[in-house]
Symmetry: C2
Subunit: 240 residues, 2 copies
């Protein structure tokens, strides 16, 4: 099985995605928030690409999360801080979510065999799942406005290393090699490594240190969010 | 002055290129071949994007280099091995060149303030020039068919580190941080670091070990190729 890494949604079309599970990655903070939501009992998340679509859902009475440039869009219920989703009132609720980069990534991959949502929060559960599925894997980094970013790349490297512990995975993809090398350099202290990164600084200006620390902490969640019919739901364990 | 790094010609439009010198990078092997050509006395290189354009020039009697997928296109005079250009018969000649990735990169950047050609072969001369110019710098990696590749990224990291020794340069760009980190990991033995990379393997199959070794060797050239009116010429030293 092959692992590939795509650094930007705008490059997705360059990859062979046949028989491939796409892992959508938007560490700061959309995919971290989505994993947290399912861990806290949210039943369904509907990703939309634009704030206008989100508004339409809001007018129909949906609970709607919308974030642009790191901030909650005025008039909406939630942003994409994982802490917004640690709320027992959200249990069994459906949430509509539109974010700067994360939902765009989900959107470009909509024809894939399967789309799952990755973050450091669910990395081990997700790695175990991918190994059990035995399909090719494409790490799809949401990036920042279609540009490369470091935090999504580090996660792609971390997850690639984890699944390559199973000998059934290999890679011939330069972006995956780069991501794994960068993760090796960063893994002792991800927070410090990202200190100088562009998005880290963007969020620092918004006082989101607590969010960033949480988003870089592995394995606080076991839920694996998966796309089914244009919505994200929690993957149900297969009973053996 | 800001340094940015673009990993693919297809992402060039995402970058702010105002007041910016664009360094086109296609280490294996177009920009290495171009630098070598000027060092050996070529007077002008005309880059074209397609093999058809190259054929048209050939029919007009031009000396034409065309490479696709690492091989000389049938019927053409030269490929993009630097060794093809170490030929005294090329002195004062004009060469038309079309390659898989390099000329595409030059093409997308055609509106830039200035385009220069970078390779390990002229890295120190080029760094000195960029520091003296005091403009923003965009490292434009040609990549492989619009995907990220390691060898162009390593050069972008090496050149960024060199010009940042001058305190007038800084960066806020995640791709530049990544490129510099990767170069730090690789610099003791670039050849070994690239051992597993995708393009390295592609060329290995074509028996191009000697080319690769040469392309990774710094400072065998002092020429700085620069675009002037759709052609590449050797930058003339300014007499002080």
């Amino acid at each position: 099985m092959q692992i590939q890494t795509c650094f930007s949604p705008s490059q997705y079309h360059l990859f062979n995605t046949e028989n491939t599970i796409v892992v959508v990655i938007d560490i700061l903070r959309a995919t971290s928030a989505i994993c947290t939501g399912f861990e806290y009992g949210v039943s369904k998340i509907i990703p939309v690409a634009t704030v206008d679509e989100a508004k339409e859902y809001k007018s129909k009475g949906y609970l709607v999360a919308a974030e642009r440039d790191g901030k909650i869009v005025e008039g909406f219920n939630l942003g994409n801080s994982p802490f917004d989703y640690m709320n027992k009132d959200l249990k069994n609720k459906t949430i509509v979510i539109s974010t700067t980069n994360g939902t765009q990534a989900i959107h470009v991959a909509r024809e894939a065999y399967k789309i799952v949502i990755g973050s450091f929060l669910n990395i081990t559960a997700l790695a175990n799942y991918l190994v059990s599925e035995n399909k090719n894997v494409l790490m799809l980094c949401a990036g920042w406005k279609n540009k490369f970013n470091l935090e999504d790349t580090l996660f792609a490297g971390a997850l690639s290393q984890k699944i390559m512990q199973s000998k059934s995975f290999t890679t011939e993809c330069d972006s995956t090699f780069a991501a794994m090398h960068l993760y090796d350099l960063a893994k002792e202290d991800l927070f410090a490594f990202l200190e100088k990164s562009s998005h880290r600084n963007r969020l620092k200006n918004l006082n989101l240190e607590k969010d960033i620390n949480y988003c870089l902490t592995p394995d606080s969640c076991s839920a694996i969010p998966v796309m089914v019919n244009n919505s994200i739901v929690k993957l149900q364990p297969v009973l053996s």
